[in-house]
């Protein structure tokens, strides 16, 4: 009921500020009001910047091993000391943000693309296609993520970031597909979709012009949360030896490289920074996701 009431303020009043009232802008305004989410955006932005400008922020090569100085303590040259191969931890931290974000982002993007395509086809057409896609998803869901990645990575002859990311996407599409399918299923019953069909709109038009823009909310929200999850997953995979191999720095493999009670106790500079970076980034992304959820969720439009 309230939805009606809220929107009842007369159209004429908002005429002059029409450009500010696109649904996206409204969501944006709502998002801006969520302080934690905005903080999240800033934090993420800074981390992205760090990744981009890493070469200017440190003179060290993150992959250069200085065997004369392994497990070095922080000093003027190596601000966060060196790791067990004598590589500068600070440099690895900076460059690591690149790789970790790239992994998180591209795994998310891959998955979202696969999930959106499959989910929208399943949700829009329903019937047999839907059945096949969903059965596949069920089967895939029955393999726990880690186990599947382990199995697939073991098969592959070579792992690079692209392949790594594809594997992650390959094993995580069902979750997103389900969500998008569900969104499409409920959208399909909306009157404006019927309306688009009744004017003779093609399937393509209906999917891309009408359904997708309205499904963007759940897609974006899930995308952000998924990205956070992927960053964590990468570190978990590193832990069991299936992650991105050294010397490429990622926060995940930095963390696992520093995995022992000795490091935990006596070399905090080796694990706290990557740990904190993971936590901060995941937190930031989660807050952004939360903010987006509130901003994009039509149910929250009431207030």
């Amino acid at each position: 009921m309230e939805t009606q009431i809220d929107t009842r303020h007369s159209a004429s009043k908002s005429l002059n500020k029409s450009k500010e009232n696109t649904p996206w802008r409204i969501a944006f305004r709502k998002f801006k009001r969520n302080r934690m989410a905005v903080l999240g955006v800033w934090v993420l932005l800074i981390i992205v910047m760090i990744g981009i400008f890493a070469p200017y922020l440190t003179p060290h090569d993150p992959e250069y091993a200085d065997l004369l100085n392994t497990n070095g303590k922080p000093d003027k040259v190596h601000w966060l000391g060196t790791d067990s191969s004598g590589r500068d931890i600070f440099a690895r931290l900076l460059y690591g943000s690149r790789i970790s974000l790239i992994i998180g982002f591209s795994a998310m993007l891959f998955t979202i693309v696969i999930g959106t395509i499959l989910g929208s086809v399943a949700g829009y057409y329903g019937g047999k296609i839907d059945n096949i896609i969903m059965r596949l998803a069920d089967i895939q869901l029955n393999f726990p993520f880690l186990l599947l990645v382990m199995t697939v990575v073991a098969i592959l002859k070579e792992i690079n970031i692209l392949i790594f990311v594809s594997v992650m996407a390959f094993v995580s599409w069902p979750g997103i597909t389900r969500i998008i399918r569900a969104t499409f299923l409920s959208l399909r019953e909306q009157e404006f979709i019927l309306s688009a069909r009744s004017i003779g709109g093609s399937d393509f038009r209906i999917i891309f012009r009408h359904m997708l823009p309205n499904a963007m909310g759940p897609i974006i929200v899930n995308a952000t949360l998924f990205m956070a999850g992927m960053i964590i997953s990468e570190s978990a995979l590193s832990f069991i030896g299936f992650g991105v191999p050294q010397p490429t720095p990622t926060w995940g493999n930095m963390l696992t490289e520093a995995l022992s009670l000795r490091v935990l106790q006596y070399e905090p500079w080796a694990w706290i920074p990557p740990g904190i970076m993971i936590v901060i980034t995941v937190l930031a992304i989660n807050f952004i996701g939360d903010g987006l959820r509130d901003a994009l969720d039509p149910r929250m439009r009431k207030s």
């Binding site: 069920d138 089967i139 869901l141 029955n142 393999f143 726990p144 993520f145 880690l146 186990l147 382990m150 199995t151 697939v152 073991a154 098969i155 002859k157 956070a228 964590i232 570190s235 978990a236 832990f239 069991i240 995940g252 963390l255 696992t256 995995l259 009670l261 935990l264 106790q265 694990w271 740990g275 993971i278 936590v279 995941v282 937190l283 989660n286 807050f287």
Partner: protein, 320 residues
């Protein structure tokens, strides 16, 4: 209902077969076999070949699969190529441990997340809510192997409160209550770290679910009848809020077992997770197959149980 359950169980069979085919294909695609890494030069190629032949590794893959399938249908998971023992024996040793860990973890998750979720839903934006949210996000953001290590460092080595490794105190010969207490002390740390992300997730989920239900018309109805807040919260709201949580639980099992790979590693917990990790590395496909099959079955059964629980808490759902 019984017919429904029966049907669901029957439908699992083709699913499991399909899953087993996929897993089999995967494990056959992987280069090497259990004997590749074993190249004690004194063990001549002939000895290895004899062993390979013993496990039919020279048969065409489809034949290997079919004979595997035939054996499984007769309840025989084969023999581990690595250990030489029947896979079922190996699993029988380990499954109870993993189940114990997973179930404890689930219980801890629920015990922690549901009340906190309720409290933060009741007083949104209060101090408790904010602390819970912060903890929740931290839990989501901390890789659980690290959480495990930090826990060991703190609770076992610094304070000496809890044992760091294994399921029971070696050589202690506890019985009865003391045994139970000992086991409990051993499981608490791995179970909490295993469930860390889940706990955090459930807490957030519970909170939003509770808040959502609190906004429902029927809560207003209950209020209008003059029901005290306690009844409204724990009877009317909670029962409805639990319904979606139960669906999640159904999916949780597989995730827990997968997560166990890592936790078991950190805590030297003798469960299927570590067995699986080693089996993957060693290409011990009878074990890989069996564990995948069991996990798939657990997930399917978990889903089925979730559906059954669903019926219990949500009378709107009926299967017949």
């Amino acid at each position: 209902m019984y017919k429904y359950i029966l049907r669901r169980i029957l439908i699992m069979i083709p699913m499991l077969v399909l899953i087993s085919i996929i897993v089999f294909t995967f494990s056959k695609l992987a280069p090497g076999d259990p004997f590749t890494g074993e190249f004690d030069p004194r063990i001549t190629k002939d000895i290895l070949d004899k062993k390979r032949a013993m496990f039919n590794l020279y048969d065409p893959p489809y034949k290997q699969y079919l004979s595997w399938l035939k054996n499984v249908l007769q309840g025989n998971f084969g023999v581990s190529m690595r250990f030489g023992f029947p896979v079922s024996d190996l699993l029988a040793e380990r499954i109870p441990n993993t189940l114990f860990l997973a179930i404890t973890s689930l219980i801890i998750t629920l015990i922690v997340s549901i009340p906190i979720g309720i409290i933060s839903a009741r007083r949104p934006y209060s101090l408790i809510d904010y602390s819970a949210t912060t903890f929740g996000f931290l839990g989501l953001a901390t890789p659980n192997f690290y959480a495990g290590l930090i826990a060991i460092y703190l609770f076992s080595i610094q304070f000496g409160w809890l044992p760091a490794q294994g399921t029971i105190t070696a050589g202690a010969d506890y019985t009865g209550l003391a045994l139970f207490w000992d086991k409990f002390k051993h499981v608490i740390m791995p179970a909490s770290t295993l469930g860390l992300a889940q706990t955090a997730g459930y807490m957030r989920y519970m909170r939003s679910e509770m808040m959502e239900v609190m906004g429902k018309d029927f809560i207003r109805t209950a209020r209008s009848k003059g029901m005290p807040e306690r009844v409204i919260l724990y009877k009317h709201t909670l029962r409805n809020a639990l319904i979606p949580i139960i669906t999640l639980l159904g999916f949780e099992f597989g995730a827990l077992v997968a997560g166990a790979v890592i936790t078991e590693n950190v805590f030297s917990w003798p469960g299927v997770g570590t067995l699986f990790l080693n089996a993957v590395i060693n290409r011990d496909y009878p074990i890989i197959m069996a564990i995948n099959l069991i996990i798939a079955t657990m997930v399917l059964v978990g889903n089925l149980l979730a559906d059954i629980f669903y019926v219990i808490v949500d009378p709107r759902i009926r299967y017949d």
